[in-house]
Amino acid sequence: MTINGKYWRIALGIAVIAALIIVPMNFNRYGLYILSQWAVMTIAAMGLNLTLGYAGQVSLAQGAFVGIGAYTAAIMTTQGLPLIAALGVAIVLCFAIGWILGYPALRVQHHYLAFVTLAFSTLAFLVFRNEDWLTKGIYGISGIPRPNVLGFATNRPLPFYYFCLGSLAIVSLAMWWLIRSPWGRAFVALRENPVRALSLGIDTRRYTLMAFAIGSALGGVAGTLYAPLTQYIDPVPFNLSLSLDLLMMVIVGGSGFFFGPFLGAMIAVLLPEWLRFTQGYYLMLYAVAVMLLLIYSPTGILGILDRYLAERRTKAASALRAVAKSRLETAP
């Protein structure tokens, strides 16, 4: 990457962030709701991206962790406790459960692991639905308050969107740091070649559990934002289809790419909304679009970009080589 390229990237980043802050100021409540939903789903998908994209563990339980976070927030805030307390509890709870759920991952891999996590997902749904005393069962919990952040009420859609965006920014920074830390490199090593990682002295057991636990905790963070966003939760949105949706976001965006979940969540949340003008066909068109994308690029949207950049680099390198070769030949 040249210096020039680096500046371009920073400029692009600033432009996108500025746009995310400024453009929605004129949005109606619906647009803000969808964007807030995007921010929340991105956080959950980032968690899954860590588990799946970086550490290579297939999980179909991310939706359940969003549910656990959402129920924690709903139960605690309707009892008058602040959302920040709920956030703490949700993170600890999801981290602990994610850690325990990670144990099967030490023994089974790939689709076997997917089935274990699928079972967990169903289990969580049944708990949400059947344990009336805690979750109010199928009736759901309504009247979930929105928090006050640093003295600002977030009842209106715009402040709440900024709250979601701010949370996304914090999570993104933490993630950026994490994947550049030795931990992040250990996660990648785990995905690429666990045996070699082990022989290099990486405690694969601990890192596998850690990948699951951190990914799950981020699901919990997304959940604690989801509850005050909709202000009503029932068990239905947290069934297996949410886990599949999140999995799709990660894969469509580009699994293992930092910005993959951002794009993936955009496709999953915004594309169906854009396609709504086609009335009864929108879900079909959406499905077809996703299939076509994955046929064209199994590594997701960022995979296309990555391929393009790699090609350009190869071309540039071969051009340099050719020049060097011709110089060598013409040299006396």
Binding site: Y30, Y33, Y139, S142, Q231, Y232, R276, L283
Partner: protein, 378 residues
Amino acid sequence: MRSGFFAGLLLATVSATAAFAQGAPIKLADVAELSGGGATVGNNWKNGIDLAIEEINAKGGVLGRKLEVTHADSQSNPGVARAQVQKALDNEPYVLLGPGYSGSVKVTSPLAAEAGIAQIMGGEAAELTQGGNKFLFRTSFGQQSSMPKVAKYINDELKAKSVAVVWVNNDFGKGGRDVITKEFAKYNIKVAADLSTEAGQADFAADVSKIKAAAPDAVFIYLNEEESARILKELKRQAVTVPLMGETTLVGQKVVELAGDAANGARGHVGLTTDAPVDLVKAFREKFVKKYNYVPDHNGLKGYLAIYMIKATTDKMGKVDPKAFADTLHGLTIKAANEPGILMDVTFDEKGDIDRQGFLVEIVEGKQVVKQVLPKLN
């Protein structure tokens, strides 16, 4: 160039005036379960709405203005329903229609109330109209008004002392089960078995065995239509002979078609049914079948009635005023003699609950037979 500019300006002014003129269409917004678990509910509701609007527009509309509706899909998910209702409200509709699932109603009704727009919905959970929301209206009986009638019938007519309750574990089924269990307690009727089943469940052998083991005097069945048919077949197969009692979903036309002989003898309280012995309802059913090629369930009727509620209320006000709509509809009695589209006389109370005649029906040789007409209360 200059004349072009003025022409454009003129055109803009003309179209702007036209938009505010009396002749502009009245905008309605519908958010319903068009896909997902509630697709049958939502599509019946939508078709009922479209049919009513087509009829009204063919006759010149409401106060000389056409009705226009947009349909949005909630995917049977409360989170999506909230987004779609928000979108609908941002466009300032005259009245909001839907959703049909009680959970989706719960998440959206505060938004409509905040916007001051009346919401006519299909949810039947008892609690919906008990939170003091001044903008929410039902199109059918809430469970708090239908279940007492069922419990009374089980006590007075069937003289049952113990009842097995089979319900589907979603907000519809659980709501009904909770209300009827409370009613049973009033009559000292014992719940012999309390069986929760899944939506879409295919096999009821185990549940029916449990019913047999409990040996109740009657069985109360509160499931969706397909599952009702399946359990009726299984009850017949395992030779359960005690009376079977239910609600609209146990004795519908679809259940009879699916269950065949096994449906005979099933009884139920029905608030809205296309089999009602009312000429206007029969005529509605014919029109619906002609347009869509299938017999609607009660959700089709609900959607149809929602539109005629709007028409009657607007005619009564004599103007299109979204702010005064809810106030006018509270306490309003709409008579079928004046507004045939409402099908049966109906009164709305201060909570938005409905008062209308109901029916106790029994399936006899594959036909719904009305055993008792439960009159309108006031």
